[in-house]
Amino acid sequence: MIEVQNITKRYGRTTAVDDVSFRVERGEILGFLGPNGAGKTTTMRILTGYMPPTEGRATVAGYDVFTHPIEAKQRTGYLPETPPLYPDMTVREYLDFVARIKGVPSRERRDRVTSAMQRTHVADMASRHCSKLSKGYRQRVGLAQAIIHNPEVLILDEPTAGLDPKQIIETRELIRGLAGDHTIVLSTHILPEVAQTCQRVVIINRGRVVAIDTPEGLTSRLQGAATLYVQVDAPGVDATETLQGLPGVSRVALSDQRAGVRGYEVESARETDIRREIARAVVSRGWGLLELRPMRMSLEEIFLQVTTEETPEEAVSEQRP
């Protein structure tokens, strides 16, 4: 349904998105997880045809967003980071206008506006001016705007940002309810959100895709293994076999080498600490143990960032019944 191929976006010298590729199948909810400034918004803006990529291609519902923008845009609903509301219009007027420019036929417009308002629970604010709406309502009117023309693809940039916990739960439910009919890409910097709403996750950091997996797969990948970095001074000898032979070691890879000094990445089950065994094995063979430290995968680093960022919000939602 959505295909992103090697997209790169550069602004002058800075690279916002660097060689990003992923696919989203029909009816799937894909989460875009990454810390602030990771390139999520830029990628979404490229997908929606708001800006062209410097390099690469993106297709939405079979249409290249750059060569067939009108066809692609007709099939896309987009909720930007800040809901694009016109302050001097009422909610109904606004949705009617959006329906018009999205090409909804005039006889269907009334029904579409009404049903979009009902699905997003904003019907009670129909004749309120957009400037007078609370943050939660603005976000939901933004969502109503995105689904008004019943698009095949929904692109939602931080759909739960700024909502209170009750609204967050409602919005997530709403998004889950939209899946199936719609293919959804949503971005977030909150980890639990991905686990609760998405079937697949793209983790992005500093413009690069770090991992693509299911939420469960990611968790097990992170919790399953620990990696140690071992640097050994043993001229002319490869320590791989020795390390491999230690109990609890699942994988050993040579990572660097220079003038007899070799560095290895040693992977083991997370629960067992094998540092003592490694040290003993190296020293007993008369080699020099120059370095032994746990390695952090970049994925884990991102994960830590996103998990720490969601903490305050989690705390809030736990306090409230």
């Binding site: 009108i70 001097d88 206008f97």
Partner: protein, 257 residues
């Protein structure tokens, strides 16, 4: 068919947003007031002159050439002052508030959006002019002016305003700040108006070029009741060029991000 529908949707939205805020009423009111002032002043002087001449045995003065023409030419100057207020927010405000993201991700072409905004502003401008027709009505009640020069004068005003609007759109598309857009638009308009003052002081070739550039100068013949293709072509190509540059500006913004 679809593209017409899209242009109308944008134009309608623009027009409604003018009238949703006090800006439309202020502009229309202000314009009507100033127009009325010029109308009154020129009418009084016309009445004085014509009665004076009648006393001396002359009497045959033409209200079209000696009064309406001057009122319309002066109103061109008021329009120059008022127009930045209409165009300054068109793009700048959408960019500031982020609604431009909605427009640019909707199945619309840049040209449709630009034309929609252009016709929206033209709509408000037409409403401004429409109010001043009331004053002309007074002349028709108490006298019998010719309607043709008045019609050509208003056509000229519409076209001249179109030039201001297309230029204003362009300037508004270059910035996020509507005040900046307004001030720059005003400065550029003013320059295009006073440019023929330089023309008066300079050599014959420069004068021709400079006078050609002055938007207001081309209006002169329209006010007199002459519809010259030369001026029509000038105005229409000015408008087209302005809108074309706006399209380029919107597109380049997209590339720069």
């Amino acid at each position: 068919m679809n593209s017409v529908r899209n242009v109308l949707a944008i134009a309608d939205k623009e027009l409604r947003s003018y009238f949703a805020s006090p800006i439309a009423y202020i502009i229309i009111g202000l314009f009507a007031l100033l127009f009325g002032w010029f109308f009154y002043v020129y009418l009084m002087s016309f009445v004085q002159r014509s009665t004076g001449m009648a006393g001396m045995g002359g009497g045959a003065t033409n209200i079209n050439q000696d009064m309406i023409r001057y009122v319309l030419m002066n109103s061109a100057v008021i329009i120059l002052f008022v127009m930045p207020m209409i165009t300054m927010r068109t793009y700048a405000e959408e960019k500031r508030s982020g609604t431009i993201e909605l427009l640019l991700t909707s199945p619309l072409t840049d040209v449709q959006i630009i034309l929609g905004k252009f016709f929206g502003a033209m709509g408000l401008y037409a409403a401004m002019l429409l109010v001043t027709l009331l004053y002309m009505g007074i002349l028709f009640i108490y006298g019998n002016p010719e309607w043709r020069p008045i019609a050509s004068g208003y056509l000229g005003l519409l076209l001249m305003g179109g030039c201001f609007i297309s230029l204003g759109l362009l300037i508004s598309s270059l910035t996020k700040n509507q005040i900046v857009a307004g001030v720059i638009t005003f400065a550029v308009f003013l320059m295009l108006w006073v440019i023929n003052w330089i023309g008066d002081q300079s050599g014959p070739t420069t004068r021709v070029i400079v006078n050609y550039l002055s938007i207001v100068d081309h209006f002169d013949d329209f006010a007199r009741g002459i519809i010259d293709t030369k001026h029509l072509v000038y105005y229409l190509s000015f408008i087209t060029f302005g809108l074309f540059l706006t399209a380029k500006s919107v597109d380049s913004e997209r590339w720069r991000g």
